[in-house]
Amino acid sequence: MAAGDPVRRIARALPGCLLAATALAMPGALGLVFLYAPDEKVMGAVQRIFYFHVPAAMATFASVYVLLAGAAGYLWTREERWDRLARASTELGLLFCTLVLVTGPIWAKPAWGVWWTWEAKLTTTLILWLLLAASVLVRSYADSRELAARLGAVLGIVAALDVPIIYKAVDWWRGQHPQIFRPGSPAPLAPEMKHTLLVCLLVFALFYVLLLVLRIRLAALEDRVAALLERAGDPEVTAP
């Protein structure tokens, strides 16, 4: 353990600092959401889901872009750290995508009167969820870590490139039908709403980085266990 190495020391302290920062910022964000931001005139109180639904969606898309970078980096360099980035992003993307998919209908039901509509954003999110879940499954089915990394990277690239095409295609498809929800409707946010949203975005960004750092650290530890087991190789060490 190179405990004296300053870079290492910062890296070790990072999760703790992020955890503290999110723990401080979260009550502030909740306070803004419930006390500072005004009620939306048409949708009422339920519109406040927006302040966490939208940041979760942004975290999902951030994960997909990072996944694309990690997957491309791994296939290019074959270094394990790129794979750890891709692996962490797949799981985080799945987590945030699930949150978006659950909170969306909870908001939609009182606001639009339906739980779900086959609109471009919703459909794209659902398909993205399926693709991310399938790539988590593929990774867990693979026999070796190296194979899991390669297959996961290929699927990550396929999924990340697919998302904008799916969005465009579903948008056109729905374009010829009446819509409950018009995505481009220019609803100007009140300044209080804008401030609240910005703070919530910041809190989610902190959460995203925290979870990403922890997940990458977990991946690194798992890789080390696998390497140790491989090196030891004999039954008395391999036995748990």
Partner: protein, 236 residues
């Protein structure tokens, strides 16, 4: 030419050799086509009961048949790709194929071409059959329908072979192909249904030119993605 023989075939020739090998296997056994045709017939049967002929007449065949057809084709491409990649798992033939002195991207192109031709054969049977069962004017729609079907089948075959290669690397992975291929090919599916609808209504392809562009873009994009990544999926 001995010098050429030692270098192995060029990429186009290698593509054709791989495709021809798969087609020869298929023509000897008809295992894949038989499964796909029977499966698609069951899809027609289920939809036939879900919407009886009176409903089809009332709504117009163009409203329902494209969806039924492409549902059958999409699931058939799952069967076809599983089968095409599954062939290589038997008796280590994948290793033999990888040892061949050809570029790995030619292996992809060959497998995809073989699947494409098998799917085309399936469509040649199913389109007339669907015209009989659901009563629409196939002859009138054919000039617009054929390029539409070809364009979208190419995409299905490409993505099917790439993702099929991914799932054959897993021990129990066959069941995963449908949950990978069907969501990933949604843009293709939407475009296919819209274009087929336009063809059946006799509107001409100009009305759906932007959809054709989406499909063509999808085909080209995933062709290059697959060429680049297929080797990475197969290597040991």
């Amino acid at each position: 030419m001995p010098a050429d023989a030692s270098r192995g075939p060029g990429p186009l020739e290698a593509t054709w050799l791989v495709a021809a090998k798969d087609l020869r296997i298929e023509l000897r056994t008809f295992e894949s086509s038989a499964a796909m045709v029977l499966f698609s017939l069951s899809v027609f049967l289920v939809f036939g009961f879900a919407f009886d002929l009176a409903t089809v007449r009332e709504l117009g065949a163009a409203e329902l048949v494209p969806g039924v057809l492409w549902t059958a084709f999409a699931f058939s491409s799952v069967i076809g790709s599983t089968r095409a990649m599954g062939l290589e798992r038997q008796r280590e033939s994948l290793t033999a194929l990888l040892l061949a002195p050809v570029d790995r991207s030619a292996l992809f192109a060959g497998k995809a071409l073989g699947t494409l031709l098998t799917l085309t054969g399936l469509e040649a049977v199913l389109l007339p059959l669907s015209a009989v069962l659901f009563d629409y004017d196939l002859i009138g729609a054919a000039p617009a329908l054929l390029p539409v079907v070809a364009l979208h089948t190419i995409g299905l075959a490409e993505l099917g072979i790439l993702l099929g290669a991914v799932t054959t690397r897993l021990r129990r992975g066959e069941s995963l192909l449908s949950i990978l291929l069907l969501p990933a090919s949604v843009p293709l599916f939407l475009s296919a249904v819209r274009c087929t609808e336009a063809a059946m209504r006799g509107e001409g392809l100009a009305a759906v030119s932007s959809w054709l562009l989406v499909a063509a873009g999808f085909d080209v994009l995933y062709f290059f993605v697959s060429l680049l990544t297929f080797e990475l999926v197969l290597e040991d």
